[in-house]
Amino acid sequence: MEFEPVIGLEIHAQLLTDAKIFCGCSAKFGAAPNTHTCPVCLGMPGVLPVLNRKVVEFMLRMALATNCRINPECSFARKNYFYPDLPKGYQISQYAAPPAEHGWVEVEIHGGKKRIGITRIHMEEDAGKLMHDERNPVSMVDLNRTGVPLIEIVSEPDIRSAEEAAAYLRRLHETLVYLGICDGNMEEGSFRCDANVSLRPRGTEPFGTRAELKNMNSFRNVQRALEYEIKRQQYVLEGGGEVVQETRLWDDTAGVTQSMRGKEEAHDYRYFPDPDLVPVVIDDAWIEEVRKTLPELPLEKRERFVRDYQLSAYDAGVLTTSRALADYYEEVVKLSGQPKIAANWVMGDILRFLNEDKKDIRECPIAPSSLAGMIRLIQEGAISGKMAKEVVEAMYKTGKTPQAIIEEQGLVQITDEEALAKTIAEVIGKNPVQVEQYRAGREKVFGFFVGQAMKATQGKANPQLINDLLKKMLAPDT
């Protein structure tokens, strides 16, 4: 029997607000343990939460970018469980009344497009972190992360393969980062993904029993874990067995998913409306205000790049992988007026340098104006393409302008026709045998003269000019 996977993803994205969701503490990552805390996020007796409205605004950005329906009123609920990283003994989340529902995103898969539904998006607070001392039987609690705002994005079970899941995940990731509401760092946990996976005989409707996958902290791991889990369930079902509803952890080293059996028994979270918070009212005016602040989203940008700059879909895709890269590219285009050449330089040399150094475009030492300047110099014939390769490398290493580098290294292309003619005459004079051959009709010898001329000018001559002069000076009637 052929089986079809049914996958749904739950994504938790940490929001980049300055303050935490229910108190005034900083939400920034990386401070000394327990320094970003106050009585409210420490869960002291008597403290009360007050919602940071910026969190609602950030949630709304994502909800609008993913075509969700915004509910005019939503409320918070308590999810009750005991754990030392949860100071109140409950997490403030949203349950029965989420702010955004019924959205969708489009992903490109096998050259086509597929729409994946989003069930809901809601706001909640993050928990703290436990740090285990490997030599002593003690655990330390860092509550800096407690109360950092999260949004949870739950997809419909519309995903049918690990590959689709990865495409969906990338789409959400780039959208969140484009919107400027999440830094998208999977390793540091600011973008987390859990998956629900089940199989059903292809062509049938009812869902099979699902397993929940956790602990996949990279795009690659999500795809690998899903591929493994699909095979595992297929093996179980083909062997006549039954899939158990359970939570399974991805083991990166072993490359397998493993049952959490016993470690986390089925929790009864006893959700109920949080009596300390009032319902959040989101009116049309607020929605419109947020909509106005939405940047161009990656998909729209990609389509515009293809349309306006005549780029291939592939090139447009590469250049829009991040908002910063797209902005860099567009700045170069604006200053150089050469969208295709700019695309080649940015995607070629620039991205190669950055990849080698594991740097982000925002850290690129070459200013867009410098790259545009260099492109202009090539267009004007001031430097050759070959020289430009050296220039751009020097620009990357030193951060200097192309003009400065060309001058320093004496790289100015020889465009003085008289001087060049003199050099070429010398080349011709030194090689009488080849001159005879060429004039006798062996045109291949022409390349030899180009090479010699380039060598004599140390590569600084304009190749087009060399070609023209050689043709003229080698002609039999001279």
């Binding site: 008597g46 009360l48 939460p49 007050v50 005991f82 003994g89 006893r270 109920f272 300390d276």
Partner: protein, 485 residues
């Protein structure tokens, strides 16, 4: 009369006239505490040294002419309000040594108004109880009869005011915890509208029901404290940005032609005849003052106790989850692993009544039971609220007994939680509806135990409620007695 026996307004007059000082008043209060506290046990923690220093500072401000609304007045705080640097136990072993790093909003407000804090008063653990017997620090005794309970959960505050161990006190009321002990101790106790006074820094019992209010020796003092305590707090999401009137302005006005609703459901079988007689006298008093009494109906009254004992424990089971031994408070050192540490800490840290309510609440919220209990209770709560809304279209205030009986004996109901719960049967509906209620003394039983009458009004009608209460107080002319201690 000793200074500690006077009211806030009497003392403020004397302070303004330079006839006494806060230092003298505070010394008088602590003199009384030294004399009677052993018998009453109203306090968990005394703040003698800081109180004397605050009194000196108050006198300094009075000399400079910087008199605030409560400058130099000794006030006691129920040990449920967080006080920066002063331990706040909530009557529980689990917070026995907890010292908050911040002040509750009401504490900040009282401090800003110039109050002198005498100490933290005794209470039922986490405000769960009606007798102050559920305190880890031992029971408080009713000043009128030391074999009897003072009511609860704010029994310490009520007893401290009744015994003149402070001039006024703050309590909290989740199902009657201000009004019931006020009635049983013969003082005035007000539970304002939910949202009128910020709960920030009030250790939570049941968040949708908890409300802070004053215990005072008369209605005027109650208005003076409300002027200081009421108002919106940006740190509290459920506090309401409703304008705060000058509550004293209402006091001298009459109640002529006011309509007073008498809910038939509140004169139930089981009401002590002496209590009923005293309340019937109160009805005649307000009629004598020009009000007209009419019968009203609150048809869902019979469900109040059931609804309350689902909603309050459910919220409490979640609110009390934070006492896990990890961050502060008591921790049992015996656990071998995390789960065992949690279990032993909470088993040893909480008393029996708290554990009972955590279990009830956990059950009511459990999957499979939520709809039948918590959800249903919330729906019925809406009906209870509607009963009051409808009643207040027909009348200005509602008059009922505050408690079904006078103070009962210590130990009398400790083995029968249901009997204990029934002592709040006349006060619980107010919290479920979120409306304000006040208990005012309305006489004594033959045995000399105080009886209280309860007045209720619509949301944010504290001004009208105080107007009615002060008119009643003026016309009733209840005999001024002091407990013999």
């Amino acid at each position: 009369m000793e200074l500690n026996e006077l009211t806030i307004h009497e003392l403020l007059d004397r302070l303004r006239a330079g006839e006494t000082s806060s230092a003298e008043i505070t010394a008088s209060v602590f003199g009384r505490i030294d004399a009677v506290e052993k018998e009453v046990h109203a306090y968990i923690t005394l703040m003698r040294e800081t109180a004397l220093a605050e009194a000196e500072a108050a006198d300094e401000r009075i000399r400079k002419g910087e008199m605030g609304a409560l400058t130099g007045i000794p006030i006691a705080l129920k040990d449920i309000f967080c006080t920066k640097g002063v331990r706040t136990t909530c009557g529980s072993r689990i917070l026995e040594n907890f010292v908050p790093p911040y002040d509750a909003t009401v504490v900040t407000k009282l401090r800003a108004a110039g109050a002198v804090f005498t100490g933290k008063t005794n209470m039922d653990e986490f405000a769960m109880g009606s007798s102050t017997e559920n305190s880890f620090f031992g029971a408080t005794r009713n000043p009128w009869d030391r074999d009897r309970i003072p009511g609860g959960s704010s029994g310490g505050s009520a007893a401290a005011v009744a015994a003149d161990e402070c001039i006024a006190a703050l309590g909290s009321d989740t199902g009657g915890s201000i009004r019931q002990p006020a009635a049983l101790c013969g003082v005035v106790g007000l539970k304002p509208t939910y949202g009128r006074i910020s709960r920030f820094g009030l250790v939570a019992f049941a968040s949708s029901l908890d409300q802070i209010g004053p215990f005072t020796k008369d209605v005027e003092d109650c208005a003076i404290l409300m002027n200081v305590l009421a108002g919106y707090d940006p740190r509290e999401s459920t506090s309401v940005p409703e304008e705060v009137p000058d509550y004293r302005r209402f006091l001298s006005q009459g109640i002529e032609s006011w309509k007073v609703g008498i809910p038939k459901e509140y004169f139930i079988a089981g009401i002590d005849p002496e209590v009923e007689a005293a309340v019937r006298r109160a009805i005649r008093v307000v009629e004598g003052a020009g009000a007209k009494c009419i019968e009203v109906s609150l048809p869902h009254t019979e469900y109040c106790l059931a609804v309350y004992y689902i909603v309050a424990p459910a919220e409490a089971s979640s609110n009390l989850a934070r006492y896990d031994g990890v961050k502060y408070g008591f921790r049992s050192g015996e656990g071998r692993d995390l789960l065992e540490m949690y279990k032993k800490t909470r088993a040893a840290g909480f008393g029996a009544e708290v554990k009972r309510r955590i279990m009830i609440g956990t059950y009511a919220l459990s999957s499979g039971y939520y709809d039948a209990y918590y959800k249903k209770a919330s729906q019925v709560r809406g009906l209870i609220k509607r009963d009051f809304d409808e009643a207040f279209t027909k009348c200005d205030v509602i008059l009922t007994p505050t408690t079904p009986t006078p103070a009962f004996r210590i130990g009398e109901k400790t083995d029968d939680p249901m009997q204990m719960y029934l002592s709040d049967i006349l006060t619980i509906s107010t919290n479920l509806a979120g409306i304000p209620g006040i208990s005012v003394p309305c006489g004594f039983t033959a045995a000399g135990l105080p009886v209280g009458v309860q007045f209720l009004a619509g949301h944010f009608q504290e001004g009208r409620l105080l107007q009615f209460a002060s008119a009643y107080e003026k016309h009733a002319q209840i005999e001024k007695r002091r407990p013999t201690l």
